[in-house]
């Protein structure tokens, strides 16, 4: 086993560091299911998580919010996971005043620096709306197929915060993305 280099971007908390009232988790081997089927199951899982926690928390808006956040994070996981035995894990934790969505997947270490630069540009942006518009105009100009607006939309429109943990080994890096959704005053 080689050495693992751990780095954090944003305000990341380990699942073990919080006293949760409930946890739901789902994991699948990246290579086990065809990408198209994994894509469809991602929608079913995200919708289920939205419905499940709406029922538990009795907050109407949480359903759509969770659906979008879980689906977007899982879409990134499906796209970036390397085809091997590595797991994609989604874990949804409920503490009294917030929901924490952890999505863990593997990625090619060579791609990590570009991804970190993208994350930094989003976390450090003073105005996410302007960043969104800039990204759209740049995509039109360059013809770039990647959207790169999922993470911006989660932060800008869905009221969640995002952070990341990278566990980097020589060829493979495990990425854990955490979305924290405050429950606050909406809770009945």
């Amino acid at each position: 086993m080689g050495e693992t280099n751990v780095s954090i971007l944003g305000d990341f908390t380990e699942p073990g560091g919080v006293n949760f009232e409930g946890v739901l988790s789902f994991s699948v081997k990246a290579a086990y299911i065809q990408k198209e089927k994994l894509w469809k199951s991602k929608d079913i899982t995200a919708e289920f998580l939205g419905n499940f926690w709406k029922n538990i928390l009795d907050i109407e808006d949480i359903k759509a919010k969770l659906h979008f956040i879980c689906a977007e994070l899982m879409e990134n996981a499906v796209y970036h996971s390397i085809q091997s035995d590595y797991l994609i894990i989604i874990q949804l934790c409920f503490s009294s005043d917030e929901l924490l969505v952890y999505v863990k997947n593997s990625s090619d270490t060579k791609k990590i620096e570009n991804f970190k630069a993208l994350i930094r540009s989003i976390l450090e942006a003073e105005n996410l709306q302007k960043l969104f518009i800039r990204r759209m105009k740049a995509a039109k100009k360059s013809g770039c197929k990647k959207s790169q607006v999922g993470l911006i939309t989660i932060l800008k429109d869905r009221g969640a915060s995002l952070s990341w943990k990278f566990e980097q080994e020589s060829n493979v890096t495990n990425i854990t993305t955490l979305a924290r959704i405050p429950l606050g005053k909406d809770r009945k």
């Binding site: 929608d43 808006d61 759509a64 919010k65 979008f68 977007e72 759209m136 959207s147 869905r158």
Partner: protein, 112 residues
């Protein structure tokens, strides 16, 4: 003109693009929708109505396709007016669609 998938339907009739259902395709699968939008813009209409009142879900690749493939392309056509019909019923529309306003000069976003 229309595109139909398992969970969604897109039609264009009498200047109205209607998108309904749940649209969460893989990025590469949005190409047919991009081509669909391109054909509409290339026909140089003076007004386009985008009716998404029954669009329950749109993933980020779909948001990008709508913004880049339709709204920004339409903004290049001088004098073209865009009207987006939205529903208060869907949270994502209330949160995200108003932010499209800066992509086009001649755009009206209507919630009903």
């Amino acid at each position: 003109m229309n595109i139909e998938g398992e969970d969604y339907k897109v039609t264009y009739e009498n200047g109205v693009i209607t998108i309904a259902g749940k649209l969460s395709l893989m990025l590469e699968d949005y190409e047919k929708l991009e081509t669909f939008f391109k054909k509409i813009v290339e026909s140089e209409p003076s007004e386009i109505t985008l009716d998404i009142r029954n669009l329950e879900y749109l993933n980020s690749s779909g948001i990008k396709t709508m913004c880049v493939g339709l709204l920004l392309e339409a903004d290049d056509l001088e004098g073209l007016k865009m009207r987006i019909l939205c529903s208060e019923h869907y949270t994502w529309q209330k949160e995200t669609v108003p932010t499209f306003g800066e992509l086009m000069d001649n755009m009206e976003i209507v919630f009903g």
